[in-house]
């Protein structure tokens, strides 16, 4: 068990007064809050060691570089990658996916196929649309079942030896569904397809072991794991990253530049052009420390308890439908109340100091699949409590009454 009260004390924003009550923050799927140790690391960076990395002979620069690379090591061990060379820092999940999709433009041939799913976030759709269009490849979409599970039968039937890449989310940000990644990896690999996982919603909620899952690429964002905005990670198997052409170019990612011929640096620097988000990367280690101190499995259990409790209570509300009822779910609940617009619910909850997300959750195709404009979404993090859920349920009931 975890000590939620102790954990909550570490989050300054949780004790913030919004609209005259304490903030109840249930929009963790969008971004998580940062504990004091992460905030302090950023601050200390600027107060004590701010310097450009990888280039300088002076003390500050060496120190910043060391801290920067320590963070890479920390990410490596957090996701159990084989080598630090497999950890590329980007500005977010979206950029990580774009980096790979851009590289696949020159890897894919005409009539090759890329599989995505109906439950993807726009960030794992549009890059592949552009990539496939460019390469003359075909983008195919694995359907989602009524309960929010991926349709595994369809997936199997759609895989074939033209499939070069399968790109899907570990956990759906709109449904909460946890996809069976290990199985899908095996399946995909059996057809010779590579696999990229959008781990944005998984990384701070369940254990991610890239070697055990045997994924080829894994993408996530620091701001969804109690860390800073503007930092992401691309994990890729070393040999695959080696085969991928460079993405952005400029300082840092080169070995030698001349007007005749430019050669690129080794991994991971080949993909890290320009001055990175140094403060953000360094504080990512503090985020990982925070998570590991509590233990990812403890976080998972805690959020699971919240999920079960909230689901039970929500179901008691008449005319409330939950979208996504997979047996294998993470702490995300999407719902609608009959004809009420999610936005109206969101506005009223906000008035009561409860932050939830409403809308299409950057998953318009999924909304279309379920024939809805959007949903109201509650999503949990380690600092949330049963008490907050109770307040939220009461607030939903009050909103419903006001709106009907």
């Amino acid at each position: 068990m975890i000590n939620t009260q102790e954990i909550r004390k570490q989050f300054p924003i949780i004790n913030l007064n919004i609209n005259r009550s304490n903030l109840i923050y249930f929009d963790n799927g969008a971004t998580t809050q940062n504990p004091q140790n992460v905030i302090d690391t950023e601050k200390e960076y600027y107060e004590k060691m701010n310097a450009n990395v990888h280039r300088g002979a002076h003390f500050l620069s060496s120190h910043a570089t060391e801290k920067f690379e320590e963070s890479r090591k920390s990410v490596q061990s957090f996701i159990n990658a084989k080598s630090v060379k497999e950890i590329v820092f980007t500005k977010g999940t979206t950029e990580s996916i774009n980096l790979v999709a851009n590289g696949f433009r020159s890897i894919l041939k005409k009539d090759d196929e890329v599989l995505i799913t109906e439950m993807e976030h726009h960030s794992n759709i549009v890059p592949w649309q552009i990539c496939c269009k460019y390469a003359g490849a075909k983008l195919r979409v694995v359907p989602v079942k009524e309960n929010g599970d991926l349709d595994m039968v369809s997936l199997k039937s759609m895989l074939n030896n033209k499939t070069k890449l399968v790109a899907l989310t570990h956990i759906s940000n709109a449904l909460g569904t946890i996809n069976p990644i290990e199985d899908i990896c095996k399946l995909s690999h059996s057809f010779g397809a590579k696999i990229l996982i959008d781990g944005a919603q998984a990384i701070s909620h369940i254990k991610v072991d890239v070697q055990k899952l045997n994924v080829d690429f894994y993408c996530f964002s620091s701001h969804k794991m109690y860390g800073s905005t503007g930092v992401g990670v691309l994990y890729g198997k070393e040999e695959l990253l080696n085969d991928l052409p460079p993405y952005q170019s400029g300082g840092e990612m080169i070995k030698d530049v001349s007007f005749e011929k430019t050669t690129y640096a080794d991994l991971p620097y080949k993909f890290e052009a320009g001055t990175p988000n140094i403060a953000g990367v360094i504080s990512l280690k503090s985020s990982i420390d925070f998570i590991c101190k509590i233990g990812i499995d403890n976080i998972k259990n805690h959020e699971n308890t919240l999920l079960n409790y909230a689901t039970l209570e929500l179901k008691k509300i008449k005319d409330l439908q939950i979208l996504g009822t997979s047996k294998n779910k993470s702490g995300i609940i999407s719902f609608n109340i009959n004809s009420l617009h999610a936005y109206d619910i969101g506005v009223l909850l906000d008035k009561m100091g409860i932050a939830i997300r409403t809308g299409h959750h950057c998953a318009q195709p999924l909304m279309k699949r379920f024939n809805i404009a959007g949903t109201a979404r509650i999503s949990f993090a380690v600092y949330n409590t049963k008490d907050e859920i109770e307040k939220c349920i009461a607030a939903i009931k009050k909103s419903k009454k006001m709106l009907l």
């Binding site: 999610a342 936005y343 506005v347 009223l348 404009a373 006001m402």
Partner: protein, 142 residues
Amino acid sequence: MKKSISMIQSDIISEFSMFDDWTEKYEYLIELGKSVPKIKDDEKKDENLIKGCQSRVWLFVEKKEDYIIYTADSDAIITKGIIALLIRVFSYQKAEDIANSNLHFIDKIGLKEHLSITRANGMLSMLKQMKMYAIALSKTQK
């Protein structure tokens, strides 16, 4: 004669000053929203759609003699409530008056957040659109 824009704004501000808390205010907004006549679905064309990330707004403008008449609808009821207020202020006013108006009531009655640049709803774009149309008309009239 129809009241001036600034007079209507004052009316609204004093009406809202009577609410004790946010609940009453929003209940009133919701009521207002429900009272806005719905636009038929087949009239909700894309060219009239003002799109926000969250709620959608359809805006129609017509001119009768010297006056501009706005009609609008939204799929969210609170958005409709605010729309009702905007229409009350702007509709049946002269283009020039709308163009030169200074809209402060939204702020005064504590609904500013609904007009923020968050793109979460179409309100700010709607307001801009209402004004732009009036500005365009007031210029061509001279």
